[in-house]
Subunit: 338 residues, 2 copies
């Protein structure tokens, strides 16, 4: 185990709100170290819907999710945040002087004056289809629950399952990439955007994808590597499909994860905070963005941005008791980094 990293605020979560917290902390001259279980910054925006437009960020009539992350990365650059990516925060210990040691599953230790949880949905897990031998094909043997690199599917036989936006979007995208693409959906209609549903139906009519509605995947077969699957429709007709890659896109099931064991006030999987400091039930541990809850809470990115500003002021006061914080307007002197 290497020497602990030291910083002012350890931020748990590198989504848009965690990133902007680096900016608000930086304006008050506090340095940040950011930890995220995902291998890259951006949280859900980069992982789940990088190419989707967002319409409700103030000042952007529309912005692609990944572009918003790229902009935020540029915006916080002057404050040189440090990162532990691909590591999951596991433990927190409050020391006698009020500072904290946070530990990750990789053995990294971070010593910080305050902790800010910006964990979004938590360390979320994909919802999995109820198939017996699913685990046999996980870990690169034919099943994946997220599309990270669409090019990986070029020239391959792909089956997507699901009826929401992710399933529809990837279906449209991969129609031109995969050698053969099948969309399996248990119902007759889609939950996703009517627009996308219409396009997917058109792709099916043009013979560019196979569309199996009112159908479930009922068995997976292969010898070490997924080779085929059995699908069953409402009329109980069973069919076998050859498949290289199976992508079940049934959404994500948020799990609070180890943070749930930090003895913080929790309500329905969310961390309770006040609306003045966005502080949890433990002084010095703050929570901002989708992971927190308070009266009136809306799970909007823009709310997390606001919360990060108030959190930063409160964290400053926590680590500098008695000091006066001055709200500085960047229009006057710009942003001076570290």
């Amino acid at each position: 185990m290497s020497a602990p990293i030291t910083t002012d605020i350890v931020i748990v979560g590198a989504g848009p709100v965690g990133l902007f917290a680096v900016f608000e902390a930086g304006l008050l001259k506090m340095r940040c170290h950011v930890v995220d279980a995902l291998p890259q910054i951006g949280g859900q925006l980069s992982e789940i819907y990088p190419r989707k437009p967002i319409y409700d960020i103030p000042g952007f009539p529309d912005v692609l999710a990944q572009d918003l992350i790229d902009n935020l990365e540029k915006q916080i650059e002057p404050f040189h945040p440090t990162y532990s990516l691909g590591e999951r925060v596991e433990t927190v210990e409050k020391l006698e002087d009020g500072s904290f040691v946070v530990g990750t599953n990789e053995g990294t230790q971070i010593h910080a004056k305050a902790v800010c949880i910006a964990g979004g949905l938590g360390s979320f897990e994909p919802r999995k289809p109820p198939l017996e031998n699913l685990a046999d094909y996980e870990g690169g043997k034919g099943i994946q629950y997220m599309v990270k690199d669409p090019e990986k599917f070029r020239g391959r036989k792909v089956v997507i399952a699901g009826g929401g936006d992710s399933a529809l979007d990837w279906c449209m995208y991969l129609a031109d990439v995969a050698e053969e693409l099948t969309l399996v959906h248990r119902n007759n209609g889609f939950r996703g955007a009517p627009d996308s549903a219409a396009k997917v139906e058109q792709l099916a009519q043009e013979g560019k994808i196979n569309l199996l509605l009112s159908t479930n995947v009922t068995a997976l077969n292969g010898d070490g590597q997924l080779a085929s699957m059995e699908v069953t429709n409402k009329a109980k007709e069973v069919k076998t499909i050859e498949v290289d890659d199976f992508i079940p896109l049934f959404g994500l099931s948020p799990k609070l994860g180890p943070i749930g064991e930090w003895n913080l006030g929790i309500e329905k999987n969310q961390v309770e905070v006040d609306t003045e400091k966005f502080q949890t039930s433990t002084e010095g541990i703050f929570a901002i963005g989708d992971i927190n809850t308070y009266p009136g809470k809306l799970k909007l990115i823009l709310s997390g941005f606001h919360e990060s500003a108030l959190m930063a002021h409160a964290a400053f006061k926590y680590m500098n008791p008695g000091a006066k914080v001055n709200l500085k307007y960047t229009t006057v002197n710009g942003v001076s980094g570290f």
Copy 2:
């Protein structure tokens, strides 16, 4: 007096926060009518510092104030807000059914189901120099307190007074426009950005402007139209300057204005609100942005943006008692206007 305008929410103030409130209201299918005392939208950003970069809007490493307003105008376009610009809100009356009639100084009457005050600093007034016959030259007779159209000063003899950013910025800008430009400042050093101060001093050294430090304007002369002024320095030396236009830029003094008489809870010139609905002490009247106060309040544009979202949800519940609000994510279905 014409027939009253009817709308869902009357928004008092067309600054960035008032404009974004149109968006958040629109997502919940509420229409808005916006009133502002200024002749154009944008509030302080368009009126006081249109060409200044802002660095603390999330997702914008930097953005010019006017560009942010232009973006917001585009973002709310689908919701077709209506405006009464150049009119000051004076009166509010709550009707028995819980709706409101808001009246302006121009006699316009707006009947709305809810009122949202997004009044920024209030209806602010420029701070004026203590000169006896100041009023004689106001109203187009030689004195103006804001620069609206810099081209108006082309080829003219201009005197700016002040030592803050506005004075420095306009000094730099008008150096190339005015025939003769003088900057009068009562102190020896400037309050504005050191950068700008250095540039202004350089302009003076190059003979492009006249810089009179430790000097006050002590008298104004002219026959109906300002023609000359007397300035006095610390050594009590008196000098007379020819002048077509005198622009005292001593900052703005915020005045709550008529809203102060609406019987709302007020603390230090700000309207008290809760942090769940951003509602004032009168049910159905909300206040967002710089004009409100609550524990932890930071006067940031981004806080006003967040407040506008929670206000919209609360206003929806106020005018649709018992109805359920669904938080809609624009990433799924985009924005559908009216």
